[in-house]
Amino acid sequence: MSKIACQRKGEPDLSLPSKDMMAAIAVTRFGLGARPGEIDAAKSDPQGFLTAQIRREGADIPQDGGESASVRFEQMRDYQQQRRMERQQKDGEDKTAANAPKDKVMAFKDAQRDLREKVGADFLARAQLGASTPASFRERWALFWANHFTVSATKQITSVLIGPFEREAIRPYVFNSFENLLTASSTHPAMLTYLDQAQSIGPNSRAAVYVGRRRNGKAGLNENLAREILELHTVGVDAGYTQNDVTEFARALTGFSVGRDNEDRAGQFMFRDNAHEPGARTILARRYGQGDIKQGLAVLKDLSADPRTARHVCGKIARHFVSDTPPKSLTERLEKRWMDTGGDLAAVAKALVESPEAWDPTPTKFKTPYEYTLSTWRLIGAQPSAIERLAPILTGLGQKPFSPPSPKGWAEDAQTWASPDGLIKRMQWAQGFAAAVADRTDPNDLAKQALGERLTPPVAKAVSRAETRREAFALLVMSPEFQRR
């Protein structure tokens, strides 16, 4: 590699590689993979190519139907109601045979299909944006935050809200302050339903007393969101908080809810004053006086400013973009910028681009299935066209659309994805994809377009010696260099 280094033992190499190499790294490591001509376009100023993608107004919005969370929430409620009716009719059918109104049953089926198609359309629109955007560092930055604040279709009510969640709570704030992003996420119906916050009621609130009289006391606290905000979104599991901190935070968050059908804020964030646990709270050794919505918001503000949050989240950023085991000097650099700017995410993104550790020419990150397939579409200047085809591909590769298995989100390390079965499945997909697209390509040129200066002689040789265009294409996208970034 063309790299002039003067490195002391045990310290990371802080010199930068050549511009050509940096252009290839900018597009493949920071971005989602090269579209034709993209590496060339980045050559004159690779770092500027990336910083130009940082913008205060946030990430791009996928071109989906644009329905808001509240509209979707109501559609889901309607569907659930129709489903209940259908069930009641079924029970009735047993006794009174065939006089059930068929149109109602059909309405339930239609609604179910409609909702499923909408979730599919949301995902497809996001994948198309990722495959086609010229600002793919910006998109990767947004995807990082969407995974940091995971919501998952493994919960029915949440599934239809994921598209709106990313559009409303994530993308507008990814270059804003962390506090604004955290607050937007923690007050969005998708998060409030996914982590059960919407139903959490202070045990001594007016609502609990009321429900207790009417329904034998089945109303109270749910600590799911409070725990995951601490553990996953902010200070991290090793921050030293206790069970009592979790419970106190859960009490502070009571009232954070979603409006019901008959309320003004149906399907939107709603603070339920009468569900809020009265009294002062102590969380991570800080006291929060008696208060309404301000109590929970104050905790979110303090968590955002906590240096443990900076450390936890900057470590994740470094692991996502640079290495499963990033150099300490990199995470410290990011943390410092975070703390100096009060968690300004645009400044942190810029610090990442400016960090020499992020430009090490040896690629160690192994692409996740979503990143991998998107980068293959980008390579041929195309995009996925149908969710019916895209969803089975990603499911087969281990990353079912919108369905991370837990609130921790998708794993991002090579250990998880470079499994024997993972590689076999990628090869099978690469063969099929090559059969569909490779006959129209020039494999040798494609290899240069894909990897630029990162193209190594063994890969170039293997591609040039392939028997067919299809074989060459499959070899290229299965090469260690293409699967890593």
Binding site: G220, P420, D421, K425
Partner: protein
Amino acid sequence: MTAQVMNRRSLLGLGASLGISVNFFGSQAFAASEGDLAKKKLVVVICRGGMDGLSVSPPVGDANYTALRGSIAMQRDQVRMLDETFGLHPALKTVHALAQQGQARIAPAIASPDRARSHFEAQDVLETGASGVYGAETGWLNRTLEALAPVRKVEGLSVGTTAPLILRGKVQAASWSPGKGVDETARLPTLLQDLYRNDPMLGPAFARGLETETMAQQAMTALSATPAMNVAAASTPNMVQPASMSPTMANDRQNRAGSEAARKLGSTLGGFMTQAGGPQIAAISLDGFDTHAGQLGQIATRLTYMDAVLDGLHSGLGAEWKNTVVIAVTEFGRTARVNGTGGTDHGTASTGLILGGALKKGGIVGDWPGLAQNALFENRDTAPTLDMRGLFKGVLADHIGVDRAVLESKVFPDSAAAKPVTGLV
């Protein structure tokens, strides 16, 4: 697709939507030299999300149970009784039938050494077998293979697209999941092996993937020849997986299909394990046990799937069931009290299940601390009385024949306080 003929790809689709993945490894390459030990099989079922032990084996005979559980308490006549104190959840039909024959037992207050109530930290501790989080970077099943290596050669194999921590480590674990198979006439696999020759990560992983695929094809062919399995060996090329976006949008029909898929996954795994050279040690993951709200329905579905997997495993293993021990554990239990939303929050001890034809008859494994207020851990959870490492060590020593000293030093270091549970087999 009918339930009768479910091809492998549709099995994968359903498996994925249930959050089920299978990992198994360990082969019987040196079977002859090791005699009976080489026939012994171990399956570890990891129930992810924090499985509620008080729902798995409701202690309906405990004086404090009903009051603590409130709206989610079960009555004596709703559960499948095991003894005067414990019943099994009504969905656990197979487990109960096995228990009647002395082939299933419960450990009602088992826990890992982790107390942080974090899913991810507790799952790490369960899978690494360390005494605390970040205590080890490899999985204890992988270290078991490593420990056995000088005695008999065992190879790693996992089914599922991602590699779980429990089998990560020095022994290169293979992995496999149902798919369309490798075209052996294509040059690509050979060319890629060449391209990966100097890649320490992709080279071994890819080679192992190819080997496993070949073995899997043989196992599936053998399975399809057994009419009782109803698993077709060949995938249908034009069979497209349904692009189901929301697995929880399930109706009863889908639930039945889910159980059927779970049963077939279990029987497929059992079939694999009975193959000559098949895996001796296996791990399956079941997801979806994080029941913070509306717990009754959710856990019934999850336990139905678990029971179906175990039922399938039992039938798939056939005569080999007598050589098998199955352990089902979770990262932590849940609060003893019902929470405000008809669910339970993260707790401590839970119920572990121990099953298998190799099992000796007996009562509960470990002590039952009871649910009196002063007996609860931190006044909220079932108190742990049994460190799950003790159960693992006992089974690995007595059933699989792992040397005790090696168990203490290599497989479960820092576990001296967790005495091996002996006499299970």
